[in-house]
Symmetry: C2
Subunit: 443 residues, 2 copies
Amino acid sequence: MAPEALLTDLYELNMAASFIRRGMHHEATFSLFVRDLPRQRGFLVAAGLEPSLEFLETFRFEEDDLRYLGDELGFGDDVLDAFRELRFEGDVWAVPEGRVVYANEPLLELTAPIAVAQLVEPYLLNQMTFQTTIASKAARCTIAADGRDLVDFSLRRTQGLDAAINVARVTSIVGFAATSNVEAARRFDLPVAGTMAHSYIEAFPSEADAFRAFAQDLPRRTTFLIDTYDTLNGVETAIAVIRELELQGNLGVRIDSGDLDELSREVRRVLDEAGMQAVRIFASGGLDEHDIERLVRGGAPIDAFGVGTRMGVSADAPYLDSAYKLVEYDGRPMLKLSAMKATSPGRKQVFRGPDGDTIGLRNEPIPDGHEPLLVPVMREGRRTGPHRTLETARYLFTGDLQHVPEAGRRIGDPQAPVARVSDALRSLTEETRAEALRRAGVH
Amino acid sequence: MAPEALLTDLYELNMAASFIRRGMHHEATFSLFVRDLPRQRGFLVAAGLEPSLEFLETFRFEEDDLRYLGDELGFGDDVLDAFRELRFEGDVWAVPEGRVVYANEPLLELTAPIAVAQLVEPYLLNQMTFQTTIASKAARCTIAADGRDLVDFSLRRTQGLDAAINVARVTSIVGFAATSNVEAARRFDLPVAGTMAHSYIEAFPSEADAFRAFAQDLPRRTTFLIDTYDTLNGVETAIAVIRELELQGNLGVRIDSGDLDELSREVRRVLDEAGMQAVRIFASGGLDEHDIERLVRGGAPIDAFGVGTRMGVSADAPYLDSAYKLVEYDGRPMLKLSAMKATSPGRKQVFRGPDGDTIGLRNEPIPDGHEPLLVPVMREGRRTGPHRTLETARYLFTGDLQHVPEAGRRIGDPQAPVARVSDALRSLTEETRAEALRRAGVH
């Protein structure tokens, strides 16, 4: 979907119109972060930044948009003229994709005149929240698979089609070997994987006819789906066809139903007895990280897993409690007063060290032995620094995952580390709260 | 997103290539249905048909697609030549959007040469599953709201951006009054709603200054967000500004946090005492159908609800157990043999009568007093019959909802009705199963 300026909420346009009419062009800094992790998550994997930056780079209202806003929604010509010239010319600091993050750590901080900073909120929240949700879920599959291959099978069940494209993208960041989604593979240059469906087998007079036809027609991808009628008969059929056609190369069998632990052991035994130790076993069918962990820990001889629906919608935690909060306006630190959802003021940085993370202020000195998580990625509306590829993100993820504590990595009942707050941020929060209470008194 | 033929799984392309190489152009009928309802759902609302038909009408491989399939994925020139000419020229029967459906009732049946019928599977499953998931969740909000207005607030938290567009679309089918999503409102001609955010209030020296500015700059949409500092002070400020500026017309206040039941009663009392009975109360903040039902049943004086994240991702049931199964090939009824996931063969129809639904065969006579749910919507690749608008879908939904039994409509612990199976379908299933068992023996 091409970036579109009207992918925003009406209230953002209302506010932007009012700010423009009043000449309130002061710089605002908004901080995008996740307040609390779902209880099923011990860490998050930052994702969604690259599409967000593309959106910001190309943000503009088209004439069609302006006509709609004027004719249908009644915005005045003065506002429409200002909207016509509006571009994103602000600065962005962000955590690169693939890095592990925790609750309250900013994923992205954006500084720009307040009108445009408001207008881009829904798009940024949507992309950062959704992609981080899926990357964090898929990363748990990677941990559970413990080195076995994973393939993204989610296209048919994701919540829409750009969701499917982005699921393929973020699963590649967290170490999936391939996707079944051909368009995503093309777009992001990912390995693509796929065999045959039960309907293929059913369209032939017999399973052997189907296997034979497939091996002849698609010699480069001969993985036989063996559970259409009976899995143990199916593997015998596959062995017979492999022998009959003297098939070589990457051969495999896929099991998509039944007791995968038991069936994979029997199928392995049958293959091994036939001297086919190199034929790989591929398992799929409603799997999530809990199933994969159980199979892997139990020693099921499965070489690769296809993972679909439950990963692709993050079924156990399909959203994150993300927020996009005003933390500075016109040079003044801001926070929201609320017993339930207090926020902390000012431009921030996360300092990561051997003893964990500290959330501090951006202008604090970096403590010895620590590295800052947020880096400048856009200045005056243009990207800065190196272009970050999916390889970069994979590299960052692999490194960061090593440092997640065991309690955060575990699949069952994970416990996420909690970042400390620096003294400087704590002091600023207290000062700003006192000031906000004074303002609330005047309201 | 423009329909794209590569939005498919690699295995579909593999199978299509093999079918083409073998000259297997026989007609296949696939049936798309939901096997079991999530336990939190007492009915489903069919949605996703219109985008699916648009995809089928325009289905074709572009030269770029073919280049990728040849150069990168190694498909042969004979296959690519056949792909180049491929169009969807089949027939489709489907349940119109907005109709209530239950488990195992086909939402869509498609008949076409098997290669193309396979290729379109992921797109159709994705759209039909996702949109039906959301329509069914949002319909429960409509029931809970019991006549009060609902507004879709989900853009920032849906799983991607075409998800947000389609959430707005299907919420309008099930009776939402408006959406905050401006692009969706433009695309589908929906009412759009929105006020201001807390950050707007915070950017002004005081809440009163912010309210005054907003009322002056956006005179057509004066709903004041009153919970930035303190809700009861906030409503007094709103009253003062309404008096000071002598505001007229559609006025409202919005409460986005705290105990909505208690706060709405106090806010109503204060407004009424000020003679402002016409000022509406709008509530939002993490609401789902359970919250709305509790507030409405408890008598909270809330006129409209903003519903976001939990509806927009169908948080308690983010996917449906949908399937796309081969039920007929080359004139022969088919079924999948499986203890767990048995399917029933043949082209089907659902007969709805006063005593409930019966799933039967498409060529059965319609029982007296019953109406068929599936109607022909595409013949030889072109749409047939009247174009169905969102108004049509809303009309169908409103009518069907009246006939959902109380146990299906209730918010807590719903029980979905189960469709009967006709004698003719039962006989065909037994015959086809016997035949399939014979085939499995030969495999």
